[in-house]
Subunit: 203 residues, 2 copies
């Protein structure tokens, strides 16, 4: 995700990049509009012109990330179902993320824990989960169509795969034990082999 914020051509991109840096540096609870302003390269008045408060800005930030993820998924050139599924898992839960990315995951997770109290965040995370589950579902359906995946309930399987990945990532972030993500990922790959791949595709 870091690379998304390397070039900031528009004011919106510059605000989003500053938000990203503030979240990484201060976490969700410690991020304020004023701290985002400190990371902002342009005039701070621009920031206050666009946003009333932190929640407003962070909801927009989540929406921006999701637009990027959506565009990213659409642009994926991998069409072979199994490869596409693996590429998606790698993108969503990289097994050995760098420190910056870990800090960012942590801030996202804190925002997510706020969803029951913050409808503006909740909408965005609902969209995020739906986007990801839909993409996994479509990939599984394509695999069934092509005869490389068994005829499983595609959406149920997608919910399951995403919950596993999400749970592993969440546990790593909250306890800082990144080894368990690799373990879970290995076992998820075995699940895909044994439950999803047809005998012909496994050979």
């Amino acid at each position: 995700m870091t690379e998304w914020f390397e070039t900031t051509e528009t004011t919106e991109e510059a605000i989003m990049a500053a938000t990203y840096r503030a979240l990484r540096a201060h976490g969700y609870a410690g991020t304020t509009i004023s701290r985002i302003g400190e990371e902002f390269e342009k005039s701070q008045s621009l920031l206050y012109y666009h946003y009333d408060d932190k929640d407003d800005l962070l909801a927009d930030f989540l929406s921006y990330l999701l637009d990027r993820l959506e565009a990213d998924l659409r642009a994926t050139t991998v069409t072979e179902p199994r490869e596409r599924l693996e590429a998606l898992l790698d993108k969503l839960a990289p097994v050995d993320p760098d420190v910056e990315r870990r800090q960012f995951f942590q801030a996202l997770l804190e925002m997510r824990a706020q969803t029951p109290h913050q409808p503006v965040y909740r909408e965005q995370f609902e969209r995020s989960d739906a986007l990801i589950v839909d993409d996994i579902t479509a990939t599984i359906e394509a695999g069934i169509e092509e005869g490389v995946f068994e005829t499983v309930a595609a959406e149920q399987t997608a919910e399951y795969i995403y919950s596993t990945l999400y749970g592993a990532l969440d546990r790593c972030v909250t306890l800082g034990q990144w080894d368990s993500l690799a373990q879970t990922r290995r076992e998820l790959d075995r699940y895909i082999e044994t439950r999803l791949l047809t005998v012909e595709a496994s050979e």
Copy 2:
């Protein structure tokens, strides 16, 4: 868990019951020592005598819950590996919890999102994850020993099963979509059948 707090014989139990009620009513962020005091049946000065601040009290509360879970797991009379595994999954992530329990899971999750900033919580959640993963691992090892489970890497499988369950529960709590827990649980049961149960045990 509700039933744990129905009888409160000691002062400690009364404090824990008050904490449980305050967390359910106000969530983690809204819970203060004074609000726990409002739920406390005895003199509030007793509360301030025992605890300096909210984090101190909540860390003790987590520790108390874990002691109960540990005693509960030890007291489980089910020894048949597959049944024991299913009973454990039911206990950790009940598919259709009541509103009280949902509110409580929400408060726990918010506390968990604080772990990177709160070492006193982190210790407790580390203990909780280790306790659960160890119990699942021991159950899988017993199943392999008895010939009802395939010879899998027990700890890796346990990490995987717990991550799946935890992720599904977390997603339900944060988005309020409890249907997805039932879907993931059905697929987890299929995983246990196809990847874990030996052919003999499946028949």
